[in-house]
């Protein structure tokens, strides 16, 4: 991640003592800040923790050089990602952007006058799915249960989903990840930066409907993995997957199976799931609250 920072910022961070770096925040005319295991820390020009007033103030040159490095001097190559608000770097790290929105024909065309960048260190948790894997994949067989992971935001749904995809694929099933927001495999130039398994194809940046249809027609999946279902059109997509005899592992915002079933979009969408995993942050992200067999699953 460091090589994408302007040389001055790179030097400051190389002098800093970092404990599990999570974020680097670069804001124009404001002090350089990082977030690590200690929390949010301002850094001085010597890379030492300091009060905000003594922090190294990021200038236009630092920001422009960092932007050049992040975009490979080719803003046009990342239009779609910029419209989504972030870029993915090699290694799966992300750079969020803050600036001024430019709209065209009612939709966000680009961001100009970038004034802040937020580097987020990618962190995958290999083995996150170990406690539930035997519920998802029946022991001694190659059969899996269609699974829905449910939780409020920030509880580790995508981390669990990614590790399930990895484990299922490494157990011999053909998996296709339809990665609408590049959050599951964190592809950079189409190449997954996080481990999603040996037998996994990734459709990066595809809209769910198009991605699922491409997968079903062309890639012969046994399992489709996708993030964040819960929109009107998802019922049709899930029905298409079910008709093809393909299993699905997906995530969804919510706090319980009962409340989820009452949502309007859920009518006709949730029948294909056999297993529901509810997550929370009670004991930190990824706390498994319950694993439910649903819709008459055995």
């Amino acid at each position: 991640m460091m090589k994408f920072l302007a040389p001055t910022l790179r030097m400051i961070l190389s002098q800093a003592s970092l404990t599990r770096l999570e974020e680097v925040r670069i804001r124009l005319n404001r002090p350089l800040m990082i977030k690590d295991a200690r929390g949010c820390v301002f850094l001085s020009a010597a890379g030492q923790p300091c009060p905000p007033l003594h922090g190294y103030v990021v200038n236009r040159d630092d920001l422009d050089r960092t932007l050049q490095l992040v975009t490979d001097s080719s803003w046009y190559a990342w239009e779609q990602e910029i419209q989504g608000g972030y870029l993915t770097l090699p290694g799966g790290h992300r750079v969020g952007m803050g600036g001024q929105a430019v709209y065209s024909d009612g939709r966000l065309k680009t961001i100009k006058n970038i004034s802040s960048l937020n580097f987020r260190q990618a962190r995958e948790v290999i083995g996150a799915a170990d406690p539930v894997f035997q519920n998802v994949m029946l022991p001694g067989s190659s059969r899996i249960r269609s699974t829905l992971i449910v939780s409020p935001p920030g509880c580790g749904k995508t981390t669990l989903l990614r590790d399930l995809a990895r484990q299922v694929a490494n157990h011999g099933l053909q998996v296709v990840v339809v990665d609408e927001r590049s959050e599951i495999a964190s592809c950079h130039r189409g190449v997954p930066q996080l481990d999603v398994g040996l037998q996994t194809d990734v459709l990066d940046g595809y809209e769910k409907e198009i991605g699922v249809h491409h997968a079903l027609r062309g890639l012969g999946p046994q399992v489709i993995v996708t993030d964040e279902i819960g929109h009107g059109g998802d019922a049709t997509i899930l029905a298409d997957i079910a008709r093809s005899g393909v299993k699905v592992i997906a995530t969804c915002h919510g706090d319980s199976w009962e409340t989820l079933q009452r949502k309007t979009w859920a009518k006709g969408s949730l029948e294909m799931f056999e297993l529901v995993i509810i997550l929370s942050r009670r004991n930190g992200p990824g706390t498994i609250e319950s694993v439910l067999r649903v819709n008459g699953s055995t």
């Binding site: 090589k3 302007a6 040389p7 422009d64 050089r65 960092t66 932007l67 050049q68 490095l69 975009t71 490979d72 001097s73 080719s74 803003w75 046009y76 190559a77 239009e79 065309k109 680009t110």
Partner: protein
Amino acid sequence: MLIAQSFAHQVQNLRQLITFIQVLESEIQFARTTLPDVILAQAKQCSGDVGTFLGILSTTLQAGTGEPLGVIWGKGLETLSANGFPRAVLEDMRTLGDVLGTSDVSEQVKHLRVLLHRLEQALKLAEEQRDKQTRLWKYLGFSAGLLICLLLL
């Protein structure tokens, strides 16, 4: 004769530059290839002054200092300037360097097409001058030969 050769050299350089800009346009428009990748690939394929220009760009971009492309581009143009490129072409190239890579595909393509148009005009002019010089030197050569024959008779 040297003057005629220099015009021929200029024509060759302009043709290479036009080819590079055409490739750049296609790569940006259809493949969204990043500038360092296009420049590196073309630096390997181009020879002569344009090859040297692209080589300088490629090396500086790979260095990872985050220097603005316009500045790197300007340094590369000094090579072309030292090799007798027409001043108008250099100015047009400099203008492109300031905007290259800084906007979306449609705007990049517009900038590249404007430059292509200018380069094609410069090429036409250089070809005309080359032909004129070649004709002049051929005529002078023929006349000198004729004069020598007459003197020998």
